[in-house]
């Protein structure tokens, strides 16, 4: 930690010595004293989410909000037992009580039940300045109490970071339960915190690789029903679905384009698994790769034209980028013997992937600008990650004991959060889009 204080030479200290016997009067510089601050403590921003004034069956909104903020990695909710008070409104807040504490921000609120409606008010206070940064009233159905909390989290997040919050989004994933003889696969959709899971599809055949349509209304996925792989597209609101591909061999890894007009897939109809892009309107399929090696796991760039994918054309899985079916593939990953499961961040600047080292498989994020890569997971048994729509987090499956769990890591690094989940195996999580 380097600390430098620069006393700028432009400062003039006018010392009047002629005024003997008088206190020498120093005229301060015209330019302000300039102080450099570097280092500091890198930490989640301490934020006190005061338990809301609420009653009844309503979920603990403050808890949900605090957990949301904590998952982002940017915030560090203050433990409730160190809070000096439990204000719920500005009238109850004595900001001086909080300034001695760690919290830089304070969230407080109150929930009023009005029939089956919940009227929730909340306030975001800057503890340092005492300023109210945000505050609003949300009215929702009583059953949507958690959504209210996520909505508040999004507002807070956006107010403080300037980035859109992704707490009110959903995650789709596949579960695998049961014995070998009686195995059940489900396609699940849950809140971003893993809560409120609901089954979209249940099948005795393996389900794999769900992919959200950009509007969040559909999922494409691989199903092995009939003991052959096929890509299906299912409408989430109606539950209707159709088979997109039925080629011989592998039909896998569907990836909906950002604009929703195309789906990239892996097909082995040509002998080797290659990348193809299917136009959803015309159903025209365009082969993007022809290398004779394994090419799979396509993922779109925000430009809706470029793909990143995994290829072992050099003997080991590495991630490549291709700007078009006839463009030359450019390798994106180096310095690792295993790079697979790519996902491009919503802003197109970063690449989340799985890398393998001698300890196992890890989720990592690589800058597409300078190639720097950092690990985001800790365990060593992680699978392909998926970005939250704001790019601030990734979700991935991680081995846990004999099973597996979903974990969310801040994209900036930081402690992964495990989503509460029941036993069994969970895999292929994919983060859904914003809800609008």
């Amino acid at each position: 930690m380097t600390v430098l204080a620069f006393l700028h030479r432009s400062h003039r200290w006018l010392v009047s010595t002629a005024l003997a016997g008088m206190l020498a009067f120093v005229t301060p510089a015209q330019a302000a004293l300039e102080i450099d601050i570097s280092g500091g403590t890198e930490t989640g921003v301490p934020i006190a989410v005061v338990p809301f004034d609420q009653s009844g069956e309503v979920a603990d909104l403050a808890r949900i909000i605090g957990d949301d903020l904590a998952r982002s990695g940017l915030f560090a909710p203050v433990a409730r037992d160190v809070m000096p008070a439990r204000p719920a409104s500005p009238q109850q807040l004595r900001i001086g009580d909080w300034r001695a504490g760690k919290a830089r921000y304070l969230v407080m609120g109150q929930v009023e039940a009005d029939g089956d409606q919940l009227r929730t008010r909340f306030y975001l206070i800057d503890v340092s300045s005492g300023e109210r940064l945000a505050g609003s009233q949300i009215t929702a159905n009583a059953s949507a109490d958690r959504s209210v909390a996520h909505r508040i989290s999004d507002i807070i997040y956006e107010e403080l970071t300037g980035e859109r919050g992704a707490f009110s989004t959903r995650i789709a994933y596949v579960t695998e339960r049961g014995s070998v003889d009686n195995r059940t696969y489900t396609l699940q959709i849950a809140d971003s915190d893993g809560a409120n899971p609901r089954t979209v599809l249940e099948s005795p055949y393996p389900l794999m690789s769900p992919s959200w349509s950009p509007d969040g209304g559909q999922l494409a996925y691989v199903s092995f029903e009939g003991n052959r792989s096929a890509i299906w597209v299912q409408d989430l609101s109606t539950g209707e679905r159709y088979q997109l591909t039925d080629y011989r061999g592998i039909n896998g890894a569907p990836a909906w384009s950002p604009r929703g007009d195309k789906i990239a897939v892996t097909l082995s109809k040509g002998g080797n698994p290659d990348i193809y892009v299917i136009d959803l309107d015309t159903r025209r399929t365009v082969q993007w790769t022809r290398s004779g090696s394994i090419e799979t796991e396509p993922t779109w760039f925000p430009d809706n034209r470029s793909l990143a994918f995994t290829s072992d054309r050099f003997g080991q899985p590495q991630v490549f980028r291709k700007a078009g079916p006839d463009e030359r593939a450019r390798r994106l990953t180096f310095d690792t013997s295993y790079a697979a499961g790519p996902r491009i961040s919503p802003d197109g600047d970063r690449l989340a992937l799985v890398v393998r080292d001698d300890r196992g498989f890890f989720v990592a994020e690589q800058s597409l600008d300078d190639g720097k890569r950092q690990l985001l997971s800790r365990g060593g048994g992680e699978e392909r990650p998926s970005y939250a729509p704001n790019g601030a987090m990734v979700v991935y499956a991680a081995q846990s004991g004999s099973g597996s769990v979903l974990k969310i890591s801040p994209a900036i690094g930081g402690e992964p959060q495990t989503l509460s989940y029941d036993r069994g195996k969970v895999r292929d999580p994919v983060w859904g889009p914003f809800n609008d």
Binding site: A24, L33, I35, T41
Partner: protein, 377 residues
């Protein structure tokens, strides 16, 4: 003459004795004359001029008398010869003496008066001597006359006898005179010797005195010269000393003036230096205090900066802060921020949380407005 006598006393004594014998012989020869010859009534005192009386003399007596006269002549001749020799010796001696005396002329001059007197006395003595000589010659003449008369006329016997007596008397008187003179001469010689010795002594004393005086004079002159030289030297030294003192005094005064000037200049310089040092010290103290103050502010702000995760290394955030005199932050203005909102907020919060900011050790360096540059790394 006196000196001659003193030199040859033997000769002189012999000469005197011869004269005495001669006189006695003459006397006795007279005595041996018959009384008859003696005039009656005639007195020796009556005569210098012999009265020649005609008388008859035998030839025998004449022969005897002639023989005696011849003997007397021979004796006289011998005496004369001896006297002459003595005179010659005396002359030679005198010449030698004079030559020697010449050597003493210098001394003699010194006592000229005494010498003149002595010469006078000597002249007197010489006159007397001459008189003696004259008398002796007269006696010889008379004796010759007597002999002639005797030869010529026996009658003159009485006269001759008388003359003889007178001559004897004269000789006796002469002998007495001579003895007297010899005594006188002796006395004179002794006197002379004494005078000479006295003169020599005096001369010696005078010479000594002169030498002493000369030595004294010389010593005096030397002393005077020395004194003069000493005086000159003294005067010179004094002059030099005076000049030196003056020069020293002048130099001292100049040195003092110079020293005073230098002192004044030094004091002025030192004062200026002190002022400058005071100013510099003040400035340094203020600079130090400023550094300390800045460091204190920096430390407190940094301790209160909870830098959000994900802040990128290139991010910077510059804010200006206005504080009141107690260090309380009144206003934070974000001048420019490359980071995201959370980063920017963290910067603002760090400053707000650090409020009140540390106060400077010296009030004079307090600045109301501060500027912060926040950087993640």
């Amino acid at each position: 003459m006196w000196r001659m006598l003193t030199r040859m006393p033997g000769a002189m004594i012999l000469a005197v004795l011869l004269h005495v014998v001669l006189v006695l012989a003459i006397v006795f020869s007279e005595l041996w004359q018959p009384e008859s010859v003696k005039p009656s009534g005639g007195e020796a005192a009556q005569l210098p001029t012999p009265n020649i009386e005609a008388e008859s003399v035998s030839s025998e007596a004449i022969e005897r008398q002639a023989e005696r006269m011849r003997e007397q002549r021979e004796n006289r001749e011998r005496e004369r010869t001896e006297a002459e020799r003595a005179a010659e010796q005396a002359a030679a001696t005198r010449r030698a003496e004079e030559a020697r005396a010449q050597q003493l002329a210098e001394v003699r001059k010194e006592r000229e008066r005494e010498a003149a007197e002595q010469a006078e006395r000597l002249e007197q003595l010489r006159k007397e001597q001459q008189e003696v000589e004259a008398e002796r010659e007269q006696a010889q003449k008379e004796a010759e006359q007597a002999r002639k008369e005797a030869a010529e006329a026996a009658q003159q016997r009485e006269a001759e006898e008388k003359a003889r007596q007178e001559a004897a008397e004269k000789a006796r008187q002469a002998a007495e005179e001579k003895a007297r003179k010899e005594a006188e001469e002796k006395a004179r010689r002794e006197a002379e010797e004494k005078a000479r010795q006295e003169a020599e002594e005096q001369a010696r004393q005078e010479a000594a005195e002169k030498a002493r005086r000369e030595a004294e004079e010389k010593a005096r002159q030397e002393a005077e010269e020395k004194a003069r030289q000493a005086a000159e030297e003294e005067a010179r030294k004094e002059a030099e000393e005076k000049a030196r003192r003056e020069a020293e005094e002048k130099a001292r005064q100049e040195a003092e003036e110079k020293a005073a000037r230098e002192q004044a200049a030094r004091e002025a310089r030192e004062q200026a230096l002190r002022d400058q040092m005071a100013a510099e010290q003040q400035a340094r103290a203020e600079s130090d205090a400023l550094s300390k103050w800045a460091a204190a502010i920096q430390s407190k702000v940094r301790d209160n900066w909870q830098r959000p995760r994900g802040a990128r290394p290139g991010w910077t955030c510059t804010v200006t802060v206005k504080q009141d005199a107690d260090g309380r932050v009144r206003n934070v203005t974000v001048v420019g921020c490359d980071g995201d909102r959370l980063f920017e907020r963290s910067v603002v919060q760090a400053i707000e949380a650090a409020s009140p900011l540390p106060k400077p050790e010296i009030d004079s360096i307090f600045q109301e407005e501060l500027r912060f540059n926040f950087k993640p790394e």
